[in-house]
């Protein structure tokens, strides 16, 4: 291979590399020179309580929604054809994927490209979206939205989005957990519906013995801990203050709940598949005796032809389960949230959009699969469900009651409990390990995650 070309090349290398290095160092200097001071200070806008960019009334707004919220955006477009909207779908941050945050921070680096409106399935997003030198989320209660509109939300609905009395987003729906059960199966088997966790465990054991194949719950989803441990008042996700966090899985509430789950898993009456998986639908259609879970299971599972597709008049929503001798406490699984970007160039359109998707009947009553967070819409939604007669029992009363029973000891930190549970606990439960034995490992994983997100562990 020693051809004239190779020799020629070897003599030229130094010159070329010198040139390349010069170019490189010049461009490095250029880059480093322009990084500091790149952000120009904007004047704080007293009208809205944050620094706005120059507004253009005809600027299109870019809206990020997950697939389930696409109908909300479509309904807005249908109702407001004069407002230019670009709809983009993404995963909604489901299961704590963090895609909302990572994408926004990439835009922060680039200094442009932010969406105007974002839907997120995670209700802890305000914890990061309100922070930093240039926070993403626009404050809504400092002059931007009318206080009377914000007051129209169900009490406590905006709590996860409120940081130091500033509201950074609007709640799409409320997602308290209720005790879903199949009344027709209960009648057929001659069971009465449990109201406490102890009765729930007993019933599970009975089902395993008398009607194997039927289930009383599921732990296959990333949000299983928000159904069972939040609802059990287990102090595993306690945000003490802005930078202090604590988690205690050795608490009796946590240990007792883990023991119940272990027992029911051994009995084979808890599904280990995600409720969204094809396996779940294949194995358990018609076999769900009970399923503690969020209110939005109504539209997402029971009345969904692509999911469990239950017969009208069979499914009922019971009150959240309580510990024996105590008041019932509800967990909470998401309840989507809407944010507006501080960088939006058309804040009027963004406001119009948020008001529509959170409170307008054309979405929240006609199309929404879950309980609206806006009070007036919620009442109409509940009335519509009662009128439709799909659900049996005291649906309206129990769902309303549950939304006031969400246990307030479970915090909204800057990281996702769902992702921690999914990677630490789910595969080990599937491999047959005991949840009681996994509790210390789970706590360690939560604390690790809290620490890398800047919390001190108490």
């Amino acid at each position: 291979m020693s051809t004239p070309q190779t020799r020629e090349r070897s003599t030229r290398i130094p010159k070329r590399s010198v040139a390349a290095l010069t170019v490189l160092s010049a461009s490095m200097l250029a880059i480093t020179a322009c990084t500091p001071g790149a952000s120009t200070a904007e004047e704080a806008d007293s009208e809205y309580g944050f620094a706005t960019v120059e507004q253009k009334s005809d600027a299109p707004i870019t809206v990020w929604v997950d697939a389930s919220r696409q109908p909300a955006a479509d309904a807005f477009v249908a109702a407001n054809p004069d407002v230019p909207v670009n709809i983009e779908t993404y995963d909604g941050g489901a299961d704590g994927s963090g895609s909302f945050q990572t994408k926004v921070q990439a835009f922060d680096q680039a200094g442009s490209g932010w969406p105007d409106v974002v839907f997120s399935t995670q209700n802890n997003d305000a914890a990061w979206a309100s922070q930093g030198s240039d926070p993403f989320a626009a404050p809504l209660n400092k002059g931007y939205f009318e206080q009377s509109f914000l007051d129209g939300f169900t009490e406590g609905a905006l709590a996860p989005l409120t940081v130091d009395d500033t509201v950074y987003g609007l709640r799409n729906d409320l997602a308290p957990t209720v005790t879903w059960y199949d009344q027709s199966l209960m009648d057929e088997f001659g069971y009465s519906v449990p109201t406490t966790w102890e009765e729930y465990q007993e019933l599970g054991e009975k089902v395993a013995a008398e009607h194997p194949g039927y289930i009383v719950g599921g732990v296959g989803d990333a949000f299983a801990e928000e159904i069972y441990f939040w609802g059990a008042k287990a102090p595993v996700n306690t945000v003490v203050d802005a930078n202090t966090f604590s988690s205690d899985t050795s608490d009796p509430y946590a240990k007792n709940m883990a023991a119940i789950i272990d027992d029911l898993l051994d009995a084979g009456v808890l599904a280990q598949e995600s409720v969204f998986s094809p396996e779940f639908v294949q194995k358990y259609t018609g076999k769900v005796l009970m399923l503690p879970g969020p209110v939005w299971y109504s539209g997402a599972l029971f009345s969904n032809p692509d999911s469990l597709n239950a017969k009208p008049g069979t499914i009922a929503a019971g009150l959240p389960l309580a510990w024996e001798g105590e008041e019932p406490a509800a967990g909470n699984v998401g309840g989507g949230t809407w944010f507006i970007s501080q960088h939006s160039a058309n804040l009027d359109a963004a406001k119009k959009f948020l008001e529509f998707v959170t409170s307008d009947e054309r979405y929240q009553v006609d199309l929404a699969p879950g309980l609206p967070a806006h009070k007036a819409a919620a009442d109409k939604w509940l009335a519509k469900q009662a009128e439709g007669g799909f659900f049996t029992g005291d649906f309206t009363e129990n769902v309303s009651a549950a939304s006031a029973q969400i246990w307030d000891g479970w915090g909204y930190p800057r990281f996702s409990q769902e992702a921690v549970w999914a990677k630490t606990v789910t595969p080990k439960l599937a491999a047959g390990e005991s949840l009681v034995d996994l509790l210390p490992e789970w706590q360690k994983a939560i604390e690790n995650e809290a620490q890398v997100n800047g919390y001190t562990i108490k």
Binding site: E8, M28, Q109, S277, P427, A431, N448
Partner: protein, 320 residues
Amino acid sequence: MTVSAVQRSPSDAAAGSSRGIRRRRPAGGRKSVAGQRSRVSYFFVSGYVLLAVAFGVFPTLYAVFIAFLDGDGRFSGLGNFAQVVGDFRFWPAVQHVGAFLLAWLVGLLALVTLLALLVHSLGRRWLSSSIRFVYYIPGALAGASSVVLWLFVLNPTVSPVSAVLHAFGFETFVQTVSPGNLPVVFAVIAFWTGAGGWIVVMYGALNSIPDEVLEAARMDGAGAVRTALHIQLPMLRKWISYMAVMSLASGAQLFVEPRVLSQASHAVVPADWSLNQLAYLYAFKQQDLNGSAAIAVILLVVSLALSTFFVIRGGLFERD
């Protein structure tokens, strides 16, 4: 994605180099022609060089630069490195990528070489070329889309090969993608997408072994196996180490496959499984670009060291 991109190029290079040499030789006589050619060749490589500098060399140097700075731009020595190495996610990620590389490189080197030898020994031309084509097809799928396809293959409920999964004792998707299986799962996916391209390269390399040598071996009474072991394999040594170096580089950067699988498995496959994912989280979740750069530099140093090993052991830069 990196896998298929890296592996498509060497096949072109393999085809080009042997032909290129033959064509160049007779033209070597006149100087002016050679000079003209070298100028033209600069033009041709300039596109690559510019892109390599803009998207390869410059970002690398920039990463090395900021890996030694703190968030305020002050020199922080090895602070970022100490921080990422002390991160509870770092060593698990190292183990994951290490186990994946081991499973993948061993499988890739052994199976690709074996398959290339088998295909090369086929007597019928049409059969050998159509098999090579079939091997190559999966490589045409980009990384993310091939993972989406594998989501179905790995799910015992819907998999066309569910019998195989059941034979291994996997009843649910979560069991299939349990932490212990992941390195092998990713190795299988990477092999499926990437091996075809390498088989074509190896086939080309086998073609470059002179017929006289093989004939001499036959005359001496060597069968197919002995020829493969004593003639073909030693002569393929450079190509095998080339494959190892390129695969090592792309494999250490594993990102797309675990990321897609993480979303599809509802986070059962963690979002911080591989080192590159961790670097991504550092940059865009924790807003710590310096820490992210430190992980990148560690990856670079380790990959360079291992590549040097393969280059020296494989005699990649020796002249014939």
